[in-house]
Symmetry: C2
Subunit: 336 residues, 2 copies
């Protein structure tokens, strides 16, 4: 088994610590972004990165000191130490008119045919998905909102499948949404979306993903299928707990789930994960991967406060997912 993608030897990496018996392990320098990272921002987390020039670029969720979330650009040579702009991204529409979101959060970015696409949660008379593009991380053009409200956790696939763009999303409500499954939609033009299918539903024999689930990082194409990190939410007497697991989706029909982790892969344990603005959150939004070595570096938000990194090896991870899988009704079908 292998990753179908570019070689990216310079992604962040640390070997698995001796004695670690998990298929995912944390970066020793976590968190990589801490409180008050820029003059105007209080917390930067739930953010997404891509290779850019000889290093990396990222789109960051930045909660400002007025408490509202905006998205910012940042750059890094090593993927660990980031220079993040103090001002939010300025968006124009395709006619060149200013088209600034009221708020913006939890961005995902993907390169697709040389263009960088950003999907984030925006205000459209309620939480919904925003979609925009950049070619240079200086000018940003906002496209049509893919869906009517309410929606969060939009993740584009890194290539067209059967000639169509594919977008994962999690239908939602006006509030903190005590439910949620992952859907997929296709588009010929990034403007009109249809042929919607439900990919995976929340639930399972365990509890970690019993309240809701949502796509995390851009899917990684492997010989075994699309590797998707996704978050799962458990309910407690004091609120939600966000963990994450992974699924493998059919390459040609990604609405079909082949495997999905019965147990979480990572759950809040470290103090930067269990304590912060929102305690008990690990929330993956990006994964860099090197096809030559099978190394995967997962970027995740911690406690809605910090940015953190975790690592996995592709072969070990996929073997684990395949041998610790539990599907739910409808997961293996083209549920419509």
């Amino acid at each position: 088994m292998s990753i179908n993608g570019k070689s990216l030897k310079n992604i962040p990496w640390q070997d698995k610590p001796l004695g670690c018996n998990s298929v995912i392990w944390r970066h020793k320098g976590n968190p990589i972004i801490v409180w008050n990272p820029t003059p105007k921002t209080a917390r930067i987390y739930n953010s997404s990165v891509v290779p850019w020039n000889s290093g990396f670029a990222g789109i960051f969720r930045a909660d400002h000191k007025d408490g509202k979330a905006q998205i910012h650009v940042g750059f890094s040579s090593d993927g660990v130490n980031w220079n993040i702009e103090d001002e939010p991204i300025v968006w124009h529409d395709e006619d060149g008119n200013l088209y600034q979101p009221n708020y913006s959060y939890d961005p995902r970015i993907v390169e697709l045919e040389g263009i960088y696409y950003i999907v984030w949660c925006t205000d459209f008379g309620g939480a919904s998905l925003g979609l925009g593009v950049t070619k240079n991380f200086k000018q940003f053009t906002r496209l049509e909102n893919p869906f009517i409200p309410f929606n969060r956790n939009g993740v584009l696939f890194p290539r067209k499948v059967n000639g169509k763009y594919l977008l994962l999303s999690r239908p939602s409500d006006t509030g903190h949404t005590p439910f949620g499954d992952i859907f997929i939609s296709e588009s010929p033009d990034l403007v009109h979306w249809g042929r919607h299918r439900r990919v995976m539903q929340k639930g399972g024999s365990g509890w970690w993903q019993s309240v809701k689930i949502g796509a995390g990082a851009v899917p990684i194409e492997t010989t075994e299928g699309w590797l998707l990190f996704y978050h799962g939410v458990s309910g407690t007497c004091n609120g939600f707990v966000y963990s994450f697991g992974a699924a493998i989706l059919d390459i040609e029909i990604p609405s079909k789930v082949l495997y999905r982790t019965r147990d979480y892969l990572l759950t809040p344990e470290m103090s930067y994960e269990t304590s912060g603005f929102v305690p008990n959150v690990v929330f993956p939004c990006a994964a860099l991967h090197d096809s030559e070595t099978g190394r995967i570096a997962i970027y995740y938000g911690a406690a809605d406060t910090y940015s953190a990194l975790a690592y996995a090896k592709e072969d070990e991870l996929i073997n684990f997912i395949k041998s610790n899988s539990e599907l739910l009704p409808g997961d293996a079908e083209e549920y419509r």
Copy 2:
């Protein structure tokens, strides 16, 4: 001012009663469909009709005696007395495979270029819109679901506008949804939908539409704009109260509201509206209209139990809407 449509002299009609000072008045024989209308069904309401041959055909919401809603076909020579089939519509997909909804409710039907399109609320891992077609009211073909969940109150326009199909809808949640605005989406092919705009939001200086609003009947094209009947919901200590009002939308850019009734046009007053399976509901789903006389016959569900009729004259109604209008922020814009 006039209706841009066909002459339909045989639609149900009763002149306005002497002494009535409202622009909408009820049919004297209301309700036109009562409890247990067919052997298997308990309540038929929130249903939609079109001219068909020399009479009328309809798609009816029928709550069966197991308590679940399905949609049925019915026929009538006068639009008042209906023969409704005892069995639900059987749907096949475009490949001829059975594609039966788990549940179906609140259908709207419209003729568009000689084909009859039905939009209803269906189960797609949550309440969402189903879309299907028939040419003969015998075979029914289900198309792709236009949207991911959660959605209700889908209403197609009776013609393409600027070459695109237009669909009104009301984003929703998993339950009885204590919020809701009307959105519009366009499609080149009835499969992929985009360029979404919010048409109207709930609220206003009054309370009758303070909780949520939703499109009712297929919009009627007039020289003043698209005449849209819509429901508005008020919250009380004992649940929701559904009234209805009307709006006039820009002909070329129907996401722009030109006028909208500050007060409701009809609210539950009669015993068949205030009492039934769900008390205090009037819920319009269809409006037949005669371009020659300006007569409009509005079909509405009453108390989630009965089907009822009300009448209006187009010129009087539009004058009333224009002179008793109140817009909300964003209503007059292409809100995106």
